[in-house]
Amino acid sequence: MTGFLKLLARNRLALAGAIVMALVILLALVTPILPLADPDVTDTANRFRLPFSEGALLGTDHLGRDMLSRLLWGTRLSLAVGFAAAIVAATIGAAIGIISGYYGGRVDNVIMRGVDMLMAFPYILLALAIVAALGPGLLNALIAVAAVNVPFFARNIRGITVGLAHKEFVDAARLAGLTNARIILTEILPNVIPVIVIAMSTTIGWMILETAGLSFLGLGSQPPQADLGSMLGEARSALITNPHTSVVPGVMILIIVMSINLLGDGVRDALDPRLKSGALSRPMAATRVDRRAPVPEAIGAGLLEVQNLQTEFHVRGRNYRAVGGVSLHVKPGECLGIIGESGSGKSVTALSVMGLVASPPGVIAGGAVRYDGKDLIGAPYRRLREMRGRNVAYIFQDPLATLHPLYRVGDQLIEAIRAHRPIGKQEDRTKAIELLKAVRIPNPEKRVSDYPHEMSGGMRQRVGIAMALANDPDIIIADEPTTALDVTVQAQILSLLDDLRRSRGLAIVFITHDFGVVAQLCDRVAVMYAGRIVEEGPTRGMLETPLHPYTARLMACVPELGGGKRRLEAIPGLPPVVDRLPEGCAFADRCTKAREDCRVGEIHLEREGARAVRCIHPETPLREAAE
């Protein structure tokens, strides 16, 4: 509760709303003891006096009554009626909701049907019908407004009660032989009261507005008694000649409702935990770049070159260094595997290439990504966009989430093309079918007008691949494209990718956590751990003689079909959190071979020929392995 109040107080607007509201309520409370003129004494000789005139701070109305006094008394009445309506609506609504939710079954069914019927009315029709039946008057307006809001409370509270009715403590009370009435009062009610209070706090402004509205229509408070609504209603006839009589009560309603809304928003934000973590931030079109070190020089090591890339996530004052200085390169037609556990930074590395890391909270803090020698990290958005999909295309993991659910797959394929070059209406369908054919989707003429949800997981991933092929890119970055698929489909997708690569001369960066997949597809492998590369080299060499203990352990996780009686081992422990990496080797805590010197200083990636490793006590000496 105190945490909640603290959050609320931190929200400056909500605090302002709370203060204004408190002032208004205080004024309304002390109104009877203030030295004010009688709000109902008419003085027609002094009618329509302007604000700030002698003896009448806010002027006088059409009957010469003091506006300030009427305003304060009217505010008092409006607040009282609004609060009363809220309390009545909440009490009756909660009672209905609790009974409905607690008893369930037919009782619930009948009650909720009734509530649905009431909610089928535009609210004012119901309020008008009730006032029509009871006759105009403030009390009747209050009843109408309360009645109209009962369904809202009933529905909310029922939802909460249904959840509670089957909890253990309620069952226990039942077994103890308590009556239903007792259970509702002692077990259920205390648990729903907070919800009732919150629902009230968010609707009270609305109720004040509604009762003021009915009074404005002449159906609420009757003269000479006046709330803010009827003051405004009476002033309407003199709107053009004496606007101040309208402005004064109108502005007061605005102030009250606005401060309640501010407060209500604050309450809602404080209760919604997603807002606290900033998780509702929208990712921008390209990852934010904030390079603090000079950009490394090009060395011309391949088509795509990642140099000392550093990507961080800034979340609530903490800095998670997801990628801590990664260097990689891919040559045309080559397949590079990046392998590591979840959270090792492999996906973030891949997404950084085209600035697709969600930002906020992602920031590229250093390094360079060169395509054909030119740096992409500092490139303007326009150039980045032109290259996305055309030079470097992506295939993502879960094809159901990564395809747009409301567009036909054909249209999504065509859009990929159209993003880079104009394509005619006739040509586009043919091209889409051609792409589907290229990824071996049977019956492509029909499939082209399917929605993603009408396809199987394997088919959807084929669409994802087709989309990546749409503009004949040079490089495809495949981010765990087979992880969400079952094994036979996985094998099909892998062989498809391999064929495409050979027939089109594609370079592929293949991200996975599965050494089996790497063995099947990749020429070279980079092993990542805690945001850095710990080993790199040709696939075959690494499979034969893994150097880093982590690589060796990772390989031991792959079951071998008919491969003897080797134990299938999981790596104990978890990777370190990347906002506070330990000194020395990040794997030391999980490594069976760790010694004293593993935990000291910076351990560099040592290179010898085609092999490289970041370990001072490798499984096999680096030089030996390189030969």
Partner: protein, 315 residues
């Protein structure tokens, strides 16, 4: 699709019946004798009894309900005693006015609310977002009747850009330009609150969608950010925005009552308020049932629109 519409229409029948029951029960709460209420306290007992018989009020409540329902199904909503004219004629004529006003306001708030929400989300925490958020807060806090009065004062009286009230000029042609100049202020005043609510919900719906994986896919394809926001994100966000539009239509219809009074617009809301003050019960009853039924049908149209947008809904 056709069968889906039929299914939704059939499912509306119990709701429509429920509405008539609720209205009938509320009207049955009227204290005292409706005939006396209609004829006034000076009526002779004979006259009261005759009227009670004519209105079927001497019969049991359940029977009364079914007679009333049967009559309504044949288009007979009774006769307004204050206007001395069939209720249905009056309601239809006035509903026309409300439809023009509320319809225009609904279109305005849907378009501007969604645009404001999208722009706000696309520039989250930017100055555009802050301005829109503040405007939205102001918009949802100002009572529409007060806003209407201030607009009359400023745009009609001071600037003389628009007429002060009414739907048509007293003299002169009743053409479209006359209608538009009369419609502008009330439609805007009516649309403001709903625009604010829709903008808010659109903003959060957009923020929710913009974090989804398929948005990243669109960006990875090289789709321009404009297309990402307005085609990919907005289309997906519309799935949660459309139901809100349906709910807001009810609020626009409700708000029309105030706006019709402020701008002296000949609509069903003003008719209802007058009828209540004159205790013209049959007119109130007929008007409420008619408008509520229209609202139910409108919501079916919203559901159909939703199913057209989202292929995942089983039709």
């Amino acid at each position: 699709m056709g069968s889906y519409i039929v299914k939704r229409l059939l499912s509306a029948i119990p709701v429509l019946l429920g509405i008539t029951v609720i209205v009938f029960l509320i009207m049955a709460m009227i204290p005292g004798d409706p005939a006396t209420a209609i004829l006034g306290s000076y009526a002779t007992p004979d006259n009261v009894e005759k009227l009670n018989r004519d209105l079927g009020l001497d019969k049991p409540l359940v029977q009364q309900y079914f007679i009333w329902l049967g009559n309504m199904l044949t288009g007979d909503f009774g006769t307004s005693f204050a206007l001395n004219r069939p209720v249905i004629d009056e309601v239809l004529e006035r509903f026309n006015g409300t439809l023009v006003l509320a319809g225009t306001a609904f279109v305005l708030c849907s378009i501007f609310g969604v645009i404001a929400g999208v722009v706000s989300a696309a520039n989250q925490y930017g100055s555009g977002d802050k301005i829109i958020t503040f405007a939205v807060l102001l918009g949802i806090s100002i009572p529409s009747f007060f806003l209407g009065m201030m607009m009359i004062l400023f745009f009609a009286v001071n600037l003389r850009w628009f007429p002060v009230s009414g739907m048509w000029p007293i003299y002169g042609a009743r053409d479209l330009s006359a209608l538009i100049s009369h419609l502008t202020l009330p439609a805007i005043a009516l649309a403001v609150v709903a625009t604010g609510v829709i903008a808010r919900l659109s903003r959060s719906a957009m923020l929710e969608v913009l974090r989804q994986d398929f948005i990243r896919t669109a960006r990875a394809k090289g789709v321009h950010e404009r297309g990402v926001i307005w085609r990919h994100a907005l289309k997906a966000a519309m799935v949660s925005i459309i139901p809100v539009l349906g709910i807001q239509a009810g609020f626009v219809l409700s708000g029309a009552v105030y706006i019709e009074i402020v701008f002296q617009w000949p609509g069903v809301g003003r008719m209802l308020v007058d009828a209540i003050l004159k205790r013209d019960i049959l007119l109130v009853q007929g008007g409420v049932v008619f408008v509520a039924a229209c609202y139910v049908l409108f919501n079916i149209a919203v559901d159909v629109a939703q199913s057209l947008l989202d292929p995942r809904i089983k039709t």
